[in-house]
Symmetry: C2
Subunit: 222 residues, 2 copies
């Protein structure tokens, strides 16, 4: 269990988010990477109800921020790669496989996630409005087309390049975010997501992520 109040690595996380967002906030991805790498960390909790700007190192007023000595980072992709560089469990040493793993890391964040972000926008900002249906009608077929192509690449392999890497970590983390239920998810990708979520490191990260949330009624004073 790598949570340790004296660990040199600090990760910010939310003290409170609505119940539906728990299990989805992006500190989970960083915790997962740390668990895979076997690195201890401590968390610093932000309650946005009292601290709307959050940690000043995070320009978008979000989490996570990662601190390690003089290094301060944000963006879950950048942090996951930084952690991966410390551990062959996440990043193969072989330069060809390393390049492939990093390619899939970026693919998750720039070729799959943006379409999901667009659907999330429509879901939250367009709730009850006609335009949200228009977005869904345009973006869902495009995303499904991309998932079909990803499904072909995965084929019957366990992970995208055979063994688990930081590329799989980010792809699973991306694919498991809503609006999964409304998409036609190819069977091999659904099984791939399940394999990712079944990993002990994911389970430990999720348990720690959930344990850090305050009950709905409570609040941290700023």
């Amino acid at each position: 269990m790598p949570m340790d109040a004296n660990a040199p690595i600090e990760v910010t996380a939310m003290a409170w988010v609505p119940r539906g967002a728990r299990g989805q906030v992006r500190d989970l991805r960083v915790r997962w990477a740390l668990e895979e790498a076997g690195l201890s960390y401590r968390t610093r909790l932000i309650d946005k109800r009292n601290q709307p700007e959050g940690d000043s190192a995070q320009p978008w007023a979000q989490v996570p921020v990662y601190r390690e000595g003089d290094i301060t980072m944000f963006e879950c992709g950048a942090i996951a790669l930084h952690i991966a560089e410390k551990s062959e469990a996440l990043l193969p040493r072989d330069p060809v496989r390393r390049a492939t793993a990093i390619t899939w890391l970026f693919a998750a964040l720039n070729s799959i996630d943006p379409m999901q972000q667009c659907l999330t926008f429509a879901r939250f900002m367009g709730a009850g409005q006609d335009w949200a249906d228009g977005v869904r009608g345009a973006v869902i077929p495009a995303l499904e087309g991309r998932l079909a192509r990803l499904s072909q690449r995965l084929g019957d392999k366990e992970w995208l390049d055979g063994r688990f890497t930081v590329g799989d970590l980010m792809m699973v983390a991306t694919l498991r975010t809503p609006p999964k239920g409304s998409l036609a998810m190819p069977d091999n990708l659904a099984a791939y997501i399940e394999r990712g979520e079944a990993r002990p490191a994911f389970q430990a990260a999720m348990a720690a992520h959930m344990a850090d949330f305050l009950p709905d009624e409570e609040s941290v004073t700023a």
Copy 2:
């Protein structure tokens, strides 16, 4: 001028795209990184009118694909980082500044670009439809809010962390894509984009990018 038919690095690019897309296809970003690093490359042109699936190494049927010996990569962010690792011109050796540069690289691709992709979807797939206005009404204020925060981080600095890095390369490349004209772009970000586009390496990359397109009437036979 680093284009060289015998160079060990190959980049795929489009032989033809509509005039409005020229200057925006993502091989430009890879060419720019190669120019900044002083690395020669050769291009292999894909004409999607004859080869709709393009290069089989690119799962989304897009460009660029990057080849160097046994290494094959796609995703402009992954390729830009790979090139940056070869050259201090793009990635400082100091670990703190290196981490910051990589953070901004991911920020461009996962915190700015997705909102722009959502607007691009609305522009092309929603043309003439009411829902496109709904998307714009929701996403433009969100993107403008993020640009205001980015503007604060840049302040009066020339580049995001003082000196030019691969993070600036990708941030400028992202900010300069449409729909720039319809956004309230803070003055210091507009000047930042202009500084990026004025760099000799950007200019050389753009010239090579444009020179590789066939005239509108012509076509490459597959």
